[in-house]
Amino acid sequence: MDLANQSNGAAIKREDALSPARKRARRDEIQALKLAAPGIVWMTLFMVLPMIMVVYVSFWTQTTFAIEPTLTVDSWVRFLTSPTYLDSIVTTLFIWIVVLAATLVIGYPVALLIGLMIRNVTLQTALLVVCIIPFWTSFLIRVIAWRPTLGTEGAINSILINLGLIETPFTSLLFSELAVIIGMAQIYCVFMVGPITFMLARIDHSIIEAARDLGAGFGKIFWRIILPLSLPGVVVGAVFVSVMVLGEFATAAALSGRKVNMLGNIIVSQVGSLKWAFASVAGVILTIIIAIVITTLLRIVNIRKEM
């Protein structure tokens, strides 16, 4: 006890006098700040400042071809009272929730197979690589590849007609909400597969064996052990997918034939007609939605604790 007190007192004294160790720690800290400074400056100037600018301009006065820095809430009022723009909020949320559900439903079994069922590490890695390879193709090319696949004279219709399953081709596959959802589900599902696989691969197999020895069926093992343990992966995947889908506009523009207008599409078309203040309002609303979605998702599990 006495000894501990003594050494404690000595430590305090040493700190007061700025011991060499303390000095070195200080110098290291300053050195670290210097190394981080370029990144901090870059992100502040080119990310934080533009974001502030969006919020600021959303309160500017919009004239026909220009914006004036006279503050007003006109753009906000017009946006929030127009059914077209309110619809785009609903569309964005609808597409987001459906694509999120689709990626989870499509991706989870794949993750289950790769992460949990296959124990051979080489095969595991190979399958993951096969899932990731499409990412080295341009995103826009992957989107446009759905056109000859879903079109009236596209691959799916040709195959179905040749097999004699249908007489007349489906015409609503392409240029519809469905096409946008299929396209996004394909492009983003790997972001769901990855994190879930990662969490599943960390599950200790002896836990599952213990449950089985104690007489639990697969259903019970899945709901009580596998799903809870993989939940952080689901949340991380959901954050990835949500952030990307909510900010999307290219897939909707290319596959819906301009029928589906998400908030991103509104921003693009408003900028195209030089309605900067209006585009900014849509931008701020999009930011708010994304912030709410991410904080809600992160509240489900404490990711920092789980990782």
Binding site: Q31, A32, L33, A36, P38, G39, I40, M43, L45, F46, M47, L49, P50, M51, M53, V54, V57, V110, L112, L113, M117, L127, V130, C131, P134, F135, W136, T137, S138, F139, L140, I141, I144, A145, R147, P148, T149, G151, T152, E153, G154, A155, S158, Q186, F218, G219, L246, G247, F249, A250, A253, G264, V268, V271, W276, S280, G283, L286, T287, I294
Partner: protein
């Protein structure tokens, strides 16, 4: 018993999943060999490499105008190289900084990571507004470039952070205590050890920037990058030359990936050899 049934079922499911993942690309690759009179759909009128020749401007008097890819390809490559260099340097520096706990490191971590989360269309809009207000001309090498780094820097940073986390500090300390200067220590000791990580960070930055589209849309000014040229073809009717182009860019990306793989293998092999040399 259930799991005995489950495994084959999941294997079949994986096959369907891969078909879902690769199907459209396969369809596109098949249709890129469409004949001159055929459209971007089935059936294939005749098999030919017409649209590939069309892409390289070897067909004159075609009803379809040539894809404006030549110059935009070069722009995209230059932009990707610029982005790769800057974001990798920034990423290595920032990750090196995060090896020491310093005041405010928590918020700064989130500031960095935010760059990969914020939708491109938002920062793009903000950057366009900012350059409008300041009277700066927007161009792919200025306003687009800084946004590309905002996006790729967090990836480089996280990759390097993961590398430094597994890093054996004692080797560095040995060098420093033998009187080698910090700069020389970094060049001769730290850098060779983190080099595989640096390569990964560079690969991330390059592919992300090369394919980046939403951040470029509002900020590139009149001269387009490659993804913007492709996007431009979406609004008009598409022809199989877009598919031929898609196949070629995919082949190009795989070549880059193969080069990366080779460099990585060589780096690992060389490291192993070095250690062997030191042992004897």
């Amino acid at each position: 018993m259930e799991s005995r049934l489950l495994k084959p079922a999941l294997a079949v499911y994986l096959g369907l999943f891969l078909l879902f993942l690769y199907g459209p690309m396969i369809v596109m690759a098949i249709l890129s060999f469409q004949g001159p009179t055929g459209g971007p759909q089935f059936p294939i009128v005749e098999w030919s490499t017409y649209w590939y020749q069309h892409l390289f401007g070897q067909i004159s008097g075609s009803r379809v105008s040539q894809l404006p890819v030549g110059e935009s390809l070069i722009r995209s490559l230059v932009l990707a190289v610029m982005t790769t260099i800057v974001s990798t340097v920034l990423g290595v520096m920032a990750a090196q900084a995060f090896r020491t706990r310093f005041a405010g490191s928590g918020p700064i971590f989130y500031l960095f990571v935010l760059g990969m989360i914020v939708p491109g269309v938002l920062v793009g809009l903000g950057m366009a507004l900012l350059s409008n207000m300041l009277g700066i001309d927007r161009a792919w090498w200025s306003t687009s470039f800084v946004l590309h780094v905002v996006y790729t820097f967090p990836f480089a940073f996280l990759v390097m952070l993961a590398i430094f986390n597994r890093f054996d500090r004692s080797v560095e300390e040995a060098s420093l205590s033998l009187g080698v200067s910090p700069a020389e220590t970094f060049r001769r000791v730290t850098f060779p050890m983190i080099f595989p990580g640096v390569l990964s960070a560079m690969l991330f930055s390059f592919t992300l920037s090369y394919d980046e589209f939403s951040r470029t849309l509002f900020t590139s000014g009149p001269r387009l990058t490659l993804p913007l040229s492709i996007y431009g073809t979406f609004s008009v009717e598409i022809y199989p030359n877009v598919f031929a182009f898609g196949v070629l860019t995919t082949v190009f990306s795989f070549t880059l990936l193969a080069i990366y793989g080779l460099l990585m293998m060589r780096s690992v092999a060389r490291n192993n050899q070095q250690y062997k040399g030191q042992e004897t």
